[in-house]
């Protein structure tokens, strides 16, 4: 190996780039395979519903809390700013637009990633290092179809539903804060009807479905290709959360630029 620092730097970047391309390719193949396999019978609805419960129902409380306080704090900030221009009547639409387009989908996805994406990575990693995935393969069960497809499908279905709840709760939180700060309740609600369009809600829900796909597929990918025992399980879980966060934020920017 060369001792020239410049060459070593080039080698480092080259290796990192090749590694990234390798992982991106393998991730794409795994995700696409999981998606295709989820369309091919036999379907195991019990497994899918179990995952939907884990992703959706069990995340409901944390999503409600996130939505409520996000709407509330955002409203506080907006009231503070809009009062300077006597534009309090625009507080309701601003909060609703922000919640449905951006805050609802993104914050819900980030919360669910912390709760569910990490759990998926940890569970699959543990299965990998204890040879449970090998056992499935030897029994003639395709681990991608049995383990990954239902997780990705469940997250893609449940994230828009959770986001819809977060949107609604966020607006309610904002409404309560607005009333507490002396704003006219009727104006808050009616201006939302006037200004917020259904497309804002739909596009936010489409974004959240994509985020659901990202958090589940990244979590499963990290877990499925774990190496190195208990240490590997911890590493995969951390990578799953960090990579999902980054992918969701980058994906959000790209989709927002295209949609709105």
């Amino acid at each position: 190996m060369t001792t020239n620092p410049a060459f070593r730097l080039v080698a480092y970047f080259g290796r990192t780039a090749l590694d990234s391309i390798f992982h991106l390719g393998r991730y794409s193949v795994l995700s696409l395979r999981a998606l295709i396999l989820s369309l091919i019978p036999p379907w195991r609805l019990r497994t899918l519903f179990r995952q939907m419960e884990l992703v959706g129902v069990n995340s409901l409380f944390v999503v409600i809390l996130t939505g409520l306080f996000t709407g509330a704090v955002f409203t506080l900030q907006v009231i503070y700013g809009f009062r300077r221009f006597s534009a309090e009547s625009m507080v309701g639409p601003t909060v609703a637009t922000a919640m449905t387009r951006e805050l609802g989908p993104v914050l819900t996805s980030l919360m669910v990633t912390g709760r569910v994406g990490s759990a998926m990575a940890a569970e699959l990693s543990a299965m990998k290092v204890t040879e449970q995935i090998d056992a499935l393969t030897v029994m003639g069960a395709d681990p991608v179809k049995y383990l990954i497809s239902p997780r990705i499908l469940a997250a893609t279905i449940m994230l828009p539903l959770l986001t819809a709840v977060a949107d609604a709760i966020g607006v309610i939180g904002g409404y309560l804060v607005a009333i507490g700060k002396g704003l006219d309740p009727g104006q808050f609600a009616s201006r939302i009807q006037d200004i917020v369009v259904l497309g804002d809600v739909y596009n936010g829900l489409i974004k959240s479905a994509v985020f659901g796909f990202i958090l589940a597929s990244v979590g499963c990918y990290m877990g499925f290709y774990t190496k190195g025992g208990a240490e590997g399980v911890g590493r995969s879980t951390t990578h799953a959360v960090v990579c999902s966060y980054v992918a969701i934020l980058v994906g959000d920017f790209v989709m927002t630029a295209i949609m709105f």
Partner: protein, 246 residues
Amino acid sequence: MAAPTIVIKDIHKTFGDQEVLKGMSFVVQPGKVNFLIGRSGEGKTVALKLLTGLLGPDAGEIWYDDLELSQAETKDLYDLRLRIGLLFQDGALFDSLSVGENVAFPLWFHRKAKAKVTRAKAEGLLTDLGLADAYDRPVTSLSTGERKRVALARALIVEPEILFFDEPTTGLDPLLSAQVDGLISQAQERSGATVLVISHDIAATLTLADQVSMLYDGRIIASSTPDELRANPSPEVRKFLAGATD
């Protein structure tokens, strides 16, 4: 379908810069108890993973009668795996399922039988293995010996023609080891399956095996009956039989 003859020809396998298998060749006799022995770290488990298609060889061939594993279509590999039962070293039980669900899993997954029949079969096997009331217990509550027995029941429930055991008695006390050895023997006699046991347990090898192959430095250095192995003059074999298994 009759138990197949498994022929392993000149298998090479390298991990990083370490060549683990350097031309391993041997024949797994059909309908017999075959042992693959060798010191720890010789690549016995790698050999088993190659035999089940979990890993692919760098070179060489593995034949199940007239099916060569690396050339097999996905469908052929799937059909072959339905004929295989494998007991992993640590059991590889599914932690999210109960004991009974673990045992019944292969039948449930392939929808081979109705739920009631599957349950009855799983309960029957668990009873045979001394775990009569364990059906609804979580697998996390099992001891090492119980885990092995549950894993054995899971391997046997599909009535496989080929049974692989990866270090079945490692970590067990002598009493339990003898019990597991008895179960291997019984399973083979009952089903007439081809059995391959990966082991470094000399006593079990010499008692149970019909055919023994010894792996040393990535190659098979002896393949014979236990009696012939006892008489083998090779220093490596003598050392292993004297108890140098690590």
